[in-house]
Every structure is written in structure tokens, then in C-alpha cells.
């Protein structure tokens, strides 16, 4: 047995095993998407028929405004991702760099609140947005604007917490130098911190985007108009139906909807790894 084998065989064997584990369900999704019967293709691992029917349906059926769903998801997710990073980064910066009374309390509160089971608080959010609807329908219940507000508010804690970790990892020497030069905290923030933090901000932005893109429990309550739905809600109705389920269409739609995310993820994987680790690894 040569040295290469001894040192590398187990590595490859284990990696291949985990790759098969990772790919197995994904393979079945792809298989189902080509199955015209509309059921989950689980009985055999070799496709019986290859049909594009499910894909065609998504684009040709007047009942299924797939492209508007994608558009809605993109609009909502981008709006939430961008605004939550803009608002969250400022707070994270303050938590990380500024000294003020009640800072420790603030951080602890932020951490604690995230541990409250949010799904229970959903009822209250619903009632609040119902009331908002009564005087401002375009940002209340049933509107994309309202949904964006709810996501933005709901993600605030997590994002600030995540961003704070990243900010902590950026060396403080630079902004201390700026301080000596007479820059105010606001100037330090814009001139020194933001340029430095752009890569991490992009990662948080991406994660927030994906999280929003996937959400359906809140979205299905908010977006009831057929053409106003998000992809997650729109696709979920194929299988969440009481009377008929169409796994094929669900699989095809999911594949199409997740391709862009997977591509972004794969092309940014280096940054994502750094970003995810940055929160914990300091200096």
C-alpha cells in the first residue's frame, strides 16, 4: 500500500459517501420533476418516462403565474435582505464599537428575544397587521409591503446578532486611528467600517435573502391573491391541497426556483465560509 493511498483513501471514501448521502434526495426531486403522473417518484430509481410536462405546465398554464411568483419572491426577498442589512449593520456597529449605558442589557435582550418561539407570536403579528390594513391597506395584511415589514421586523434581532459577530471580527485599530484623527462615530461608520465590512454584509444579505425566499408559513397568510404569491406559497399549494397533490409540478417549480440560489451559493461559497466563520473566529 503506497503512501498516497494510506493518506487519501479514507478521505475520498468518506467524501464520496457523504456526497451520495447529500445527493440522494436531490436526485429524487429531479426524477419527480420529469414524472408526468404528478406523484412523488419514489418507487424506482430509474425514470420510467422522461416528460417535460411539469415544466411546460409552469409556463403555459394560465392558472399558474409561475413567473409572477418568482418576481414577487425576488422583490420581497431583495427588499428584506437589503433593508435589514442597512438597518442591522448600523445597530451592529454601535453594539460592537460604541460605549454607552445599557449596552450589555441590550445585547442580552437581543439574544434572549431570539429564543422566544416566534411561531406563537405570529397571532399577534397578524392582528397588528390587520389593524394596519384598516387605515393603510398597502402596507397592511394581504400586501407585499406589509409582508416586507413583518419579515424585516422579525429578522431584525437575528441579523443584528449575526452582524455584530462579523463587526467584532474586524480589527478595531483602524477606527481607533480614525478617532484620533478627529472623525466622529458617524464618519467612522461610513468611511472606515462600511468599506471594510462590505463582503460580510453581502453574505448576511444573501443569507437573509434565502431565508426570506424559503418562508411560507407567514407568506401564505399574507399573500392570498394568486398572482401576488411568493414561489414558496405558490408551489406549496401543489402539494398542500386537500384533494389533489401534484408533486411533479412542485418538484419542477422547486428546481427552477432554487437553481439561482444554488448558483449564487456555489459561486460565493468562499465568502460564505469566511462570513459564517468570521462571527466566531476573532482576530
Amino acid at each position: 500500500m503506497n503512501k498516497w493511498l494510506r493518506e487519501n483513501l479514507w478521505r475520498h471514501a468518506f467524501a464520496v459517501f457523504m456526497c451520495i448521502f447529500a445527493l440522494f434526495p436531490l436526485y429524487l426531486i429531479v426524477l419527480s420533476s420529469f414524472n408526468p403522473g404528478g406523484s412523488l417518484q419514489l418507487t424506482s430509481f430509474v425514470p420510467r418516462v422522461l416528460s417535460m410536462e411539469n415544466y411546460k405546465m409552469l409556463f403555459s398554464s394560465p392558472k399558474i403565474p409561475f413567473l409572477s411568483w418568482v418576481k414577487n419572491s425576488l422583490i420581497i426577498s431583495s427588499a428584506v435582505a437589503l433593508s435589514s442589512v442597512v438597518i442591522g449593520a448600523a445597530s451592529a456597529f454601535a453594539f460592537s464599537r460604541l460605549k454607552f449605558k445599557g449596552k450589555k442589557f441590550g445585547i442580552q435582550l437581543l439574544l434572549l428575544v431570539q429564543m422566544f418561539p416566534a411561531i406563537l407570536a405570529l397571532s399577534a403579528v397578524y392582528v397588528i397587521m390587520e389593524r394596519v390594513y384598516s387605515f393603510a391597506p398597502s402596507i397592511g395584511l394581504g400586501s407585499q409591503g406589509g409582508l416586507i415589514l413583518v419579515y424585516l421586523g422579525g429578522s431584525m434581532g437575528v441579523n443584528i446578532w449575526l452582524l455584530k459577530g462579523f463587526v467584532d471580527s474586524i480589527p478595531a485599530e483602524l477606527d481607533e486611528a480614525a478617532k484620533i484623527d478627529g472623525a466622529s462615530p458617524v464618519q467612522t461608520y461610513w468611511l472606515i467600517f462600511i468599506p471594510l465590512a462590505t463582503p460580510v454584509l453581502a453574505v448576511v444579505c444573501l443569507l437573509s435573502f434565502i431565508g426570506t425566499f424559503n418562508e411560507f408559513i407567514v407568506a401564505r397568510l399574507f399573500l392570498v391573491e394568486m398572482s401576488g404569491r411568493t414561489v414558496a406559497v405558490g408551489l406549496q399549494q401543489f402539494i398542500g391541497g386537500q384533494y389533489a397533490t401534484n408533486w411533479g409540478a412542485f418538484a419542477a417549480g422547486s428546481i427552477l426556483a432554487s437553481i439561482p440560489i444554488v448558483i449564487i451559493f456555489l459561486s460565493l461559497q468562499r465568502y460564505i465560509v469566511n462570513g459564517l466563520t468570521a462571527g466566531s473566529v476573532k482576530g
Binding site: R11, H12, C19, A22, P25, L26, L28, I29, S32, L42, T43, I87, G88, A90, S91, A94, L98, F100, K104, I107, L111, V113, M115, F116, P117, A118, I119, L120, A121, L122, S123, V125, I128, F135, A136, I139, L149, G153, G154, M156, G157, G165, S184, P185, V186, Q187, N214, A232, I239, F250, A257, I261, F265, L266, Q269, L276, T277, G279, S280, V281
Partner: protein, 512 residues
């Protein structure tokens, strides 16, 4: 460059943005007050004041960074949590859902009874000669016709009327017919109780149809009681959100309202064995589930990171594939897994040539949940571990190797402790996340299997949050008050576990 942030242009920009935000928020506040949403209006006014003070004065520099975040945080995170905590002290469940005022109104609407023959009439809505709301009623069976207002009933001779093809009177002297458009937009006419006889009156049931009723339940605001007018029975507020008969408290009027019962929902958690027993069982499984998930995902992630922690052929491809479960929408993958575990036609049984009913046996269902969560979670730890491994200073490892430690010893004595120290906040965060991993349980097993024939209410894979969701939303009979109490309990449990963990790992020190 820096001039953008100083000088008149910056000031102008700041003023323009703030003015815009102020304008929008003030407008919203104004309309909120106009639609009597006082709480929201007040909050918006406070927001306007806080924003303007923060950015136009030098009250506090940190607040300049925090203000927008805090405002969102309070509105959408803190306020709902406070609401939930308050509701945990209420009898808030199916049958006791609305406010007391609304409940009284509903009881009165339902507290009517039809006459013995359940008479209905064809009628036409309009106004009487003096302009008050009136109906022109056709009692076709008896060939009697009359105009009725709230206080008066006047019979009309057949000769003075005109009829449609069904024999319904449509015009009468002195009676002006209301147009359909007005009927559709103005509901005042439908709230009138038009006079009939002996305490009975006519209400408009649908356009052109009236039904004969009398009130059988009346409310006495002074004593806060409901009285059955015909039998004289008195229903009193039972302090639990219902009007009930004094001598037989089981007889209640519906609907009830949500009423404060203080700590009863909490004491139930301890004293009521039907609540307590499943709760303890679920709690234990939740801890096991979260712990095993963190351990397994971390172990596999770390092992992968170690395996791929050197330049080798195919590393990029491996990484691209291994990252896929993390990048795929999790709803999709969980549902596919659920289908794969099906006992009759599932892919797993097909692959293993077994006939295991995965989701009907507690052990197999738990194994399946852990396996799926491993699939979902290992890429995250793989990514993090591989990043962190590179962050460990190589001098440390080299020094150890020179000292004669073999690779295994280096790993156990240096790499692992360092990694654990670096990653402990993320491990704790992962624990807290999985403690409340609702989507996985809800979509994969729905908490099952439940041995319902033996009276089990909690399923074998139910974790606290999915169990709570069942109580609050998932059944036909919902108990939001109890569910709120459980979530407050969950909150304290997770918070103390996480705080203990954080303190141990000394992360808290950096908070100062």
C-alpha cells in the same frame, strides 16, 4: 469623499430623507387615529418624535445607529411577545376568543327565537310616509298586506297595492321603495326591528325576505347578567369568560369571551396530569433531539472538514456537492424526505429491501428525524469547521508535532479544544435553533406517531414548539392561552440553557 458626510449637501440630504420619513409616518399616524387605531397611531407619533430628536440633536450618538432597528424590533418582535405573555394569563381558547363586548353583541344576536311556525315573509324595503325605515310585507298565504316600521304596523287594502308575478306587493300609497344600490351600501334598514305582534318583530333576513322573531335573551348592563326573557333564568358572568346559569354552571351561553384567569394556565402545567405528563415527555425528547442533532451535525461536519483539509484532487467538486443540502430550500427537501420514508412505497424501504413503517414506530420515527436533520445540518458545520481549521495557527500544530505528538494526539489535545472554544457560540446557537426547529417536525412527521388509542396527546417526535403549535393552532379545539403559557416556559428554558452555555464558554465577558 469625506465632504459628502460633512457640509451643506450632507445636511440637506439628511433633512430631505428625514422629512420624507416624517411625512409618511405622520400621515400614517393621522390615518391610524382617524380609524381609531389609537395604539398604532401613538406608536407612530413616538417614532416620529424619536427619529427627529435623534437625528436633529446630539442627544445620543449610539441612538443614531440604533433608532430604526429599535423601532422595528419593538413593533414586530417585542410587542407580539408581550401580547403572547399577556394572553398566557387569559382563558383564551375555542369558545372564548373574542372580546367581552363582541361576545355580548353576539349572544344577543343569537338570543332570538322564531315564532312557532317559523314564519317568513316576502317584503320590500323602503320608507314610510314620514320618512322612517319601513317594510311592505306580503303575507301571501293569508292574503294580508301591511306596512311596518319600528313602532307601527298598518294594514293596506289589496286594491291600493300593485303586485309582481309572484303575488308580492311591490308598491303601496305613501311607501317609497329603496333602490337596490342603496340596499347594498347602507345597512341601516337591516338593523331595524320592524313591528309585528305580541313581542314578535320582523327582521330582514335577505333582500326581499323577512323572518318573524322575538328576543329571548336580554342583557342587563347594571348587574352584568343575561336574562332569558321567557323563562326568567339569569345567566351570570362566571369570571372565566362565559355567562352561565347560577345553579347549573355547565349551562353557558355561546360565544364566550377571553377572560383573565391569571396564573391558571401556568398552574395547569404542574397540576393537570393530562397537560403535565406529555409536557415532561416532550421536554425530554426535545433536549435529546437538540443535543443529538448538534453532536451529529458537528461530528460529521468536522470529520468532513478534516478529511478535506488538505490540497487534494476533487476537493472543489466535493465541496460544491456537499454544500447543496444547505443551499436547497429546506421545505422542499424535508417534504421529499417525508415521502422517502413512507412505509409502503418509500425509497428508503425500497433501497434497503425492508418494510419498516418509519413514521408509525416511535424509535424509527425518531431515528428518521435525526437522520434528516443530519442531512440538513452537516453542511453548515462542514463549512464552519473547514473555515475554523484554517484559522488555527499552524505554528501551534507544528510545535506539537516537533514535540513528538502523533496526529491523533495533536487533534485531541490541540485542534479539538481550540475548535470547541472557537465554535461554542455557534454550537449553542445551533442548539437553540434546533430546540425550536418547528419546520422540520411539522413537515416531516407532524410530531407523530401518537398512540392515540392509549390516550396519548403528544407524539413521539413532538418537540416543545410543535406540541405547543398543536395546542394553539393545530387542532379543532384550540387553546391559545395554554399554548402561550408553554411558550413562556420554553422561553425561560432555552434562555437559561443558552445563558449557562454562554457563560461557560466565556463569551459573555466580551459583552462588557
Amino acid at each position: 469623499m469625506s465632504s459628502i458626510f460633512r457640509g451643506n449637501f450632507a445636511l440637506f440630504l439628511k433633512i430631505a430623507i428625514l422629512a420624507g420619513i416624517t411625512a409618511i409616518l405622520s400621515l400614517l399616524a393621522q390615518s391610524a387615529f382617524a380609524s381609531s387605531q389609537i395604539a398604532i397611531g401613538t406608536y407612530l407619533v413616538i417614532a416620529v418624535v424619536v427619529l427627529n430628536f435623534t437625528y436633529f440633536t446630539k442627544v445620543s450618538i449610539p441612538l443614531k445607529f440604533f433608532a430604526p432597528g429599535i423601532l422595528f424590533f419593538i413593533a414586530f418582535v417585542i410587542a407580539p411577545i408581550i401580547f403572547t405573555v399577556i394572553m398566557s394569563t387569559y382563558n383564551y381558547q375555542t369558545g372564548n376568543y373574542i372580546s367581552k363586548d363582541a361576545a355580548i353583541e353576539q349572544v344577543l344576536i343569537r338570543g332570538v327565537e322564531p315564532d312557532a311556525s317559523q314564519t317568513t315573509f316576502d317584503l320590500v324595503s323602503g320608507r314610510s310616509a314620514d320618512g322612517s325605515y319601513a317594510v311592505l310585507v306580503s303575507d301571501i298565504a293569508n292574503q294580508k298586506f301591511f306596512i311596518s316600521t319600528e313602532n307601527e304596523l298598518t294594514y293596506v287594502e289589496t286594491g291600493q297595492l300593485t303586485f309582481n308575478e309572484y303575488g308580492v306587493a311591490i308598491t303601496a300609497p305613501g311607501f317609497s321603495v329603496t333602490s337596490v344600490d342603496e340596499l347594498a351600501t347602507n345597512d341601516a334598514y337591516s338593523k331595524i326591528r320592524y313591528k309585528y305582534s305580541d313581542g314578535y318583530y320582523i327582521i330582514i333576513e335577505a333582500q326581499g325576505v323577512g323572518a318573524v322573531f322575538r328576543q329571548s335573551i336580554a342583557y342587563d348592563a347594571k348587574t352584568d347578567t343575561m336574562k332569558n326573557i321567557q323563562t326568567g333564568q339569569i345567566y351570570v358572568d362566571n369570571k372565566r369568560g362565559n355567562f352561565a346559569l347560577e345553579d347549573s354552571p355547565e349551562t353557558m351561553l355561546t360565544p364566550g369571551w377571553r377572560a383573565p384567569i391569571w396564573f391558571e394556565n401556568y398552574t395547569k402545567l404542574v397540576t393537570d396530569s393530562r397537560v403535565r405528563t406529555p409536557l415532561i415527555k416532550v421536554f425530554i425528547w426535545t433536549i435529546i433531539f437538540a443535543t443529538l442533532t448538534v453532536l451529529s451535525t458537528f461530528a460529521f461536519g468536522l470529520l468532513l472538514a478534516l478529511a478535506l483539509n488538505r490540497k487534494m484532487r476533487g476537493r472543489r467538486i466535493y465541496r460544491s456537492i456537499l454544500i447543496l443540502p444547505y443551499a436547497m430550500p429546506s421545505i422542499m427537501s424535508i417534504l421529499i424526505w417525508a415521502g422517502m420514508f413512507d412505509s409502503e412505497f418509500g425509497a428508503i424501504n425500497n433501497l434497503l429491501h425492508t418494510h419498516i413503517a418509519w413514521f408509525s414506530s416511535a424509535t424509527f420515527a425518531r431515528a428518521a428525524v435525526l437522520l434528516v436533520n443530519l442531512w440538513l445540518g452537516f453542511p453548515y458545520f462542514y463549512l464552519i469547521c473547514s473555515g475554523s481549521l484554517q484559522a488555527i495557527p499552524s505554528e501551534l500544530l507544528e510545535a506539537a508535532a516537533i514535540d513528538g505528538a502523533n496526529p491523533r494526539q495533536v487533534f485531541r489535545r490541540i485542534t479539538l479544544p481550540l475548535l470547541l472554544q472557537i465554535l461554542s457560540p455557534l454550537l449553542i446557537a445551533s442548539f437553540a435553533f434546533n430546540f425550536n426547529n418547528f419546520n422540520l417536525i411539522y413537515l416531516l412527521t407532524g410530531g407523530g406517531p401518537r398512540n392515540t388509542l392509549d390516550g396519548e396527546v403528544a407524539g413521539a417526535t413532538d418537540i416543545l414548539i410543535s406540541y405547543t403549535y398543536q395546542i394553539a393552532f393545530g387542532r379543532n379545539i384550540l387553546d391559545f392561552g395554554l399554548a402561550s403559557a408553554i411558550s413562556v416556559l420554553i422561553f425561560f428554558l432555552v434562555a437559561s440553557i443558552s445563558f449557562y452555555g454562554l457563560r461557560k464558554s466565556k463569551v459573555m465577558e466580551t459583552f462588557g
